[in-house]
Structure formats: C-alpha cells, structure tokens
C-alpha cells in the first residue's frame, strides 16, 4: 500500500517556514538595537507569538473538524482552561508582591475577603503541577464530554450546539466571582514565570520560540494521527459513522481520542497565549471566540492542518491591522473577507491552492456534502 508520508511537501514548507520564523524573529529582535532599521520591536514578537498560539488552537480544531467531522463550537473552552491553569500558576508566582502584600492570596481574593486559598488553587505554585494541569484539565473535560456525547451518538449540529452550550456555561460560571478565579477581571498583572520576568524582552522571545516549537510538535502529532490508518478511520467516521460500526469499529473511541488530544492541544495553546497577552479572563470562553476559531480553519482550509494554522495567522493579522487602520469600518472588511473566502475559495486558502496545484485529491479532501437538511445530514446510512 502506498503510504502517505508523515511530512508531505506542504508540511515541509510549513515546518521550514516555522523554523525560519523562530530563528529570524529572535534575531531581528535581539540582534539589532532598537532604532536600527532591521530591529523588530518586542511588541511585535509577542503579537506573532499570540498568532502562533491561535494557530495551534486552529490546528487542534482542524484535527476534529476537518478529519473527524466534529464541528466544535466550543474549543475556546479548552483554550481558556489551559490559559487559566497557566494563569493560576502565574498568579501564585506573584506571591507577596501583590498590592495587599498577602503572600498566599491573590489580590482579588484579599479584597473579596477570602480567608484561605480555595482547594483547587493548591499545587499551582509548582510549575510542573501547573503544566500537568494545562494538559489534564482540558484533556479530562474533553474526554468526559466527548465520551458522553459520542457514546450517545450525538452528532452534527446537535454536537456543535452542545459544545457551544458547554463553553457558554463555563463562561457564565467563570464570570461568577464566587468561583474564586477573579470573576470578570480574570487573572492578570503577572510578574514572572519560572523566575523569568514575563515583561522582559528575553522572556518574550523565548516564549515566542516555545510557541513555535509547540506548534510544530502539534502539527507533527496531528499529522501522525491523520496519515495513519487511524486517520483513515476518522475520515470514514466523518463520512459514514454508522457504516464503520458494521465493520466492527467503535467510532466513539476514535472520536473521543481525537477530541481529547485536540482539547489538550488547545489547552497548551491557551497556556502559551496567556503569558504573552498578560491576561486570562472569562471572555475567552465566549462562544463567539470559538466560532472565530472555526472561521480561521475555514479560511485557511478545513482538513489541511497547515491551512488551519495559516488561517489563524491571516485572520488575526488582518484583525490587528484593520482595527488600527480603519477602526470604524474594520468589521466590514473582516465580514467581507469571510464572505469572499467562502464564495471564491470554497476549500479555503490552502485547500484551494492544493486543488489548483496539487493534482490528485488526497483522502482528506472533503466529500461533496449531501444536499439534505441537517437533521438528515449526519449519517448517510442505507437500509
């Protein structure tokens, strides 16, 4: 059997580009003094770092949506949970440098009269524990949620909407001040991570590179999963879930595994995002954030992995530029971008490019979606 290679040409281009960025950006930032024409301002480093974190989120989403047909409208939840885990660690690192000088309690707890640290904050003063939680919390939620939903054969829009309900419920919960996680203000005013000052230039460059590396690893994991027989089964599940059952596969296992791994990837993305933007708050759980992430994937090209990452960068870059250049009309431009992409690049940027130049359709290409309403669209199962 002609096996698909782990890294195909577009993968090489992607990894090479990523490697180049991870070298050039630090070089331009650290290697040239501010004021030099070649100097890259530190704020841009963090901005790019943020894009890369989003790219990892998009990649995670593409793994489940593009290859498994699970349109998650709640992936922001995993991202935010990872972010909170990191935020809690960063909060504990502040120690007695908070405004009230309390060595244990973060500031917001002091002025809301907390006496002790809530139990779920314990352990977060250790980086290793926090890092574990970055994976474990989103992973566990993804596993439990996925296992329940997939076992009950919740599919299609039903699944999409309950993922949205999930993130919405979490948003409301985290908004509550009684949750002990800072309520609406969230966690902010971070000082240092592993002893490095999060504001320092060196730190910003390092975490940028770390995000780049995480993205590359995420890509390789996703790629490994999708080129193996496992990936083929995922696609089979996506196209005709119940048919796979009659072949003896248990789609719920395959989906849950993919969903859990994807959730963990999203969690890592969130954890890398937080120190770079300096705040994590319940707004990250907002359903529109998750929908936006889906849109990055669609813009870049669903089911292409590279495209998802590219889409995240493109859309967010457009957002950064447009909110600055045309603050009153950027929504028009962004809205138009989405419409134009759907109409003229039906497979997204990368998907369309692959179709143009790539010749044969790969197995991951999407089937023509059935022309039937959503209640029918989930399973194309014959009698």
């Amino acid at each position: 059997m002609a096996r698909t290679r782990l890294i195909d040409p577009k993968g090489w281009i992607f990894l090479a580009a990523l490697a180049a960025i991870c070298v050039i950006v630090p070089l331009l930032n650290l290697g040239f003094p501010p004021g030099s024409a070649l100097h890259l301002p530190t704020y841009l480093v963090s901005l790019f770092g943020k894009y890369l974190a989003f790219a990892l989120l998009a990649l995670a989403l593409d793994l489940v949506w593009g290859f498994c047909g699970i349109l998650s409208l709640g992936h922001g939840a995993f991202f935010a949970l990872g972010g909170y885990a990191m935020g809690m660690y960063l909060m504990r690192q502040i120690g007695s440098r908070g405004v009230y000088g309390n060595p244990i309690l973060p500031d917001f707890m002091v002025f809301l009269n907390y006496k002790d640290l809530p139990w779920y904050w314990l352990g977060f003063d250790h980086f290793a524990f926090a890092a574990l939680m970055v994976l474990a919390v989103p992973g566990l939620l993804g596993f439990v949620f996925g296992w329940l939903a997939f076992r009950s054969r919740v599919t299609g829009v039903y699944l999409s909407i309950i993922t949205q309900a999930l993130t919405y419920a979490l948003m409301l919960a985290f908004f509550r001040n009684d949750m002990g996680l800072g309520g609406n203000n969230g966690l902010t005013d971070f000082k240092d991570l592993l002893g490095f000052n999060v504001q320092a230039q060196g730190f910003r460059v390092s975490i940028f590179v770390a995000t780049g590396v995480a993205l590359a690893i995420g890509y390789l994991i996703a790629r490994f999963m999708t080129v193996s027989a496992y990936g083929k089964i995922l696609i089979a599940v996506r196209d005709a879930e119940s048919r796979t059952r009659f072949l003896g596969y248990r789609p719920e296992h395959f989906k849950t595994l993919a969903f859990t791994i994807s959730a963990m990837m999203a969690g890592v993305a969130g954890a890398l995002y937080v120190p770079q933007v300096g705040i994590i708050n319940p707004g990250e759980f907002a359903p529109t954030n998750s929908i936006e992430a889906v849109i990055w994937v669609a813009v870049g090209g669903r089911g292409t992995l590279v495209g998802a990452a590219l889409g995240a960068v493109v859309v967010n870059y457009a957002k950064t530029v447009l909110t600055g250049v045309m603050p009153d009309a950027w929504l028009f431009a962004l809205g138009a971008l989405f419409v134009v992409v759907t109409l003229f690049l039906p497979r997204g940027i990368v998907g369309t490019a692959m179709e143009k130049f790539g010749g044969r359709r790969a197995a991951a290409t999407l089937p023509p979606e059935p022309e039937i309403p959503p209640q029918l669209a989930e399973e194309g199962q014959g009698s």
Binding site: P41, S46, V99, G101, G186, T188, I279, G324
Partner: protein, 404 residues
C-alpha cells in the same frame, strides 16, 4: 514632510458590547483634541489623535495599548471603560512607562503610577448616594436592595456599602444583595423579588450597580410592574443621560442616579461644553454625561501638566500632574491628588420625563477620591501617595510599600 506632532492615543471600543458606551468617549476626545489644536496645540506642536478599536476584547486592549505606545509612540492614552480592560492594559503601561487617563467611576482598590483616575472612586459616588437615601430628603430608606451585575465593580461597591450600612445600624435582614449576569435581559423574577422585599412595611431603596445593556430591560420591567420611585426608589451608579436616551423615561420619573456631573446642571462652562458637543456631533439632541466630563478634565489636566513640565515625556508628566487643577464643568475646581485620583463634587439627580436629571442634592464642597476604601478589611490601612511616599499601596501599619 508633515510637521512634527504629539500623538495622543484613544483606546475605546468602537465595536462589540462596550461600543455602546465607549464610542462617544472617542468622539469627545477627538473634539477636545481638535479644540486644543485650534488653540495652537501644546508646546507649539499640534496634537494628533491615534484611534484604535480594541473591540470590547480585553486581551485586545492590552495588544492595542502596546501598539499605541510602541508603534505609534503616543505621549499619553485616554481610554478604557470596564475595570477588566484597565486591568488588562495596566502591565503594559507599567512596562512601557506611559500615561493612561481612565474616565469611569470604578471600584477603587487601585493606585498606579501610570494611571490617572478621573472618574469617581466609591467614596465619591456610592457613599454619598446612600447618605442621601437615608436622609429625610431621600426618603429615609430603612431596607436596602443592592442589585448588581456580577463583576468586580458591583461586588466591591456592594461590599463597601454593606459594611457602611451596617455601621449605620441597618440589620442584615434588611439588606438584600443580588447579582445577575452581564447582558441580563429577563428581569421579571428579579423585579418581583425586589417588589416583595419592599412590601415589608419599611421604606425600601434599591442601589443599582447594574451594568450597561442590562439597564434598559431592567427599567422597562420596573415600569411594567408599576414600581414607581415613590414606592421603591432606585439609585443607579451606571445610568446616565446616554443610557436613558434609549428608554421611555416617563415611567421612571423620580428614580435616581449619583454622578459627579449632570448635563442639566446650569453653569456657563457646561452650557458651552454641551453646545460645542452638539455642534461637533451635528446633532442638537446629542447628550453629555459623566465620563465625558472626566475626559474633559483629564485631557485639560494633561495639557497643563505637559506645559508645566515643558515636555511630553511620561516621566515628567507623571511628576507634574499631582496638584494640577482644572475647573469642573459643574462648578468648583478639580485637583489631581497625590493618589492619582481627583476631587469631585457629588450630585444626586432624579430622572425627569425628558430623560434628563433633576439635581436634588449636592455634597458640600468637593470630595477627594480615595483609592483604598476605609470600609474594607484588607485596604483600610493602605494609602496611596505618588508624591512623597512614591507608593500606591503604602501600608500605614507595617510602614511598608507593598508589592513593589
């Protein structure tokens, strides 16, 4: 080549949930800058506004703040509305050492070197408002509903108020505290709860820290359930002329708001300001409100400070600002205090059918803003003074500056 200008950043959401409140603040800043330029600018240079849209997204606030300071090299930033947006940009201002003027009433518990708070601290709004409600003129309220949106500002304010009320002898069972989510729109149950609470035979008043969009449905429901101000007055801290423009005010006549500015206050300065604003917006019905005045004060203070320092260098401007005075639009003179808050008069206004406020009470003189609340356990020993102590949270007990 264009001549050299001084750039001023404007960091207010123009889209998303907060656009409803913040967009006018952007406009008022543009107006003030244009006016200053007409007067010849500052230090002989013209001011150039840099507007960005952080889109009601808190991390984006931080990103945009960074962009304004690092890329556009602004001399100062006027912006933010919600506390979380301020908290989000704080580290950026500290790191890049720039100046933020924050124009909205807030929960206090903060004093930062780089931030100047031109809105009210709790002692400049909440406490006087409650004092009024307890007074004979205010209706001698004995039972209290503290109704708020579930976030930091109402939580803190209510905490302060609860402590304050208890210190005034109000029993626990006469205080009901209630929180609802952001953008809450179905107020039937909450309002009927208030109604029930208010039917216990004691004069009841509601102190509302309900935020933003949720106010309109709240007031509509009050009107629908026939709760008149004479039954249970509602004292709001976040409802101004702007918000009322979206509601039919007739059923709300007599409900109250506490602010440091009302459009209806007749002073020559205010009349001129309103005229200028309506001309600028080309809309004879455009209304003014409290945070707009805060920006007016903040901006003029900044101009004076720059001129005093002879430079826009944030370092020097920060040093120059405390002590700067600027006339309020409503009479009296605001003064920037060493704790980076300002002195303010406090007014209680009652809603009129026209959607304006009738000022029914005014504090004697101006009240200095307190960064740290005297009512809260953790903060009553803290003091902010950036002039002599050079510290925002000096602990008078331990004689140490915390957090530094």
């Amino acid at each position: 080549r264009a001549e050299e200008t001084i750039k001023v950043g404007i960091l207010h959401s123009l889209s998303g949930t907060m656009a409803i409140s913040e967009t006018t603040l952007k406009d008022v800043m543009l107006m003030l800058i244009a006016e200053q330029n007409a007067k010849g600018g500052v230090l002989g240079k013209k001011l150039e506004p840099v507007v960005v849209d952080p889109a009601s997204n808190w991390p984006l606030f931080a990103e945009k703040a960074r962009e304004l300071i690092s890329k556009d090299k602004v001399a100062a930033v006027f912006g933010c509305w919600t506390s979380v947006s301020r908290k989000s940009v704080l580290p950026v201002f500290k790191e890049l050492d720039n100046v933020l003027f924050y124009p909205v009433q807030y929960e206090g518990e903060e004093s930062e070197r780089n931030v100047f708070y031109t809105g009210a601290a709790p002692n400049q709004q909440a406490i006087p408002a409650v004092d009024y409600l307890m007074s004979k003129d205010g209706g001698e309220a004995k039972r209290w509903v503290l109704e708020g949106t579930d976030y930091v500002y109402p939580r803190t304010t209510n905490k302060i108020l609860e402590a304050y009320l208890k210190s005034k002898g109000v029993a626990s069972e006469d205080i009901m505290i209630n929180y609802t989510p952001f953008g809450f729109s179905d107020w039937q149950t909450e309002v009927s709860k208030i109604k029930a609470f208010g039917s216990a035979g004691k004069k009841t008043a509601v102190v509302s820290t309900i935020n933003g969009d949720a106010n309109v449905p709240f007031y509509k429901e009050l009107g629908n359930q026939g709760i008149k101000a004479t039954d249970i007055p509602v004292m709001a801290f976040s409802v101004g002329e702007e918000e009322l423009a979206g509601i039919d005010a007739k059923p709300l006549v007599g409900h109250q708001a506490a602010w440091n500015y009302f459009e209806s206050i007749k002073t020559p300065e205010n009349e001129a300001f309103i005229k200028q604003w309506q001309a600028y917006r080309k809309n004879p019905k455009a209304v003014t409100n409290d945070p707009m005045e805060a920006h007016y004060i903040g901006f003029n203070m900044w101009v004076k400070a720059v001129e005093k320092a002879g430079s826009t260098d944030p370092e020097k401007v920060i040093a120059a600002l405390p002590g700067i005075e600027q006339k309020n639009l409503t009479g009296g003179t605001a003064k920037m205090l060493p704790n980076h808050h300002i002195t303010k008069p406090v007014f209680i206004g009652e809603i009129e059918a026209s959607g304006q406020f009738d000022v029914v009470n005014k504090t004697e003189g101006l009240i200095p803003g307190e960064a740290w609340s005297k009512q809260l356990e953790g903060s009553k020993d803290l003091e902010a003074d950036w002039v002599t102590l050079k510290c925002g949270n000096y602990n008078t007990k331990t004689k140490k500056c915390g957090g530094a």
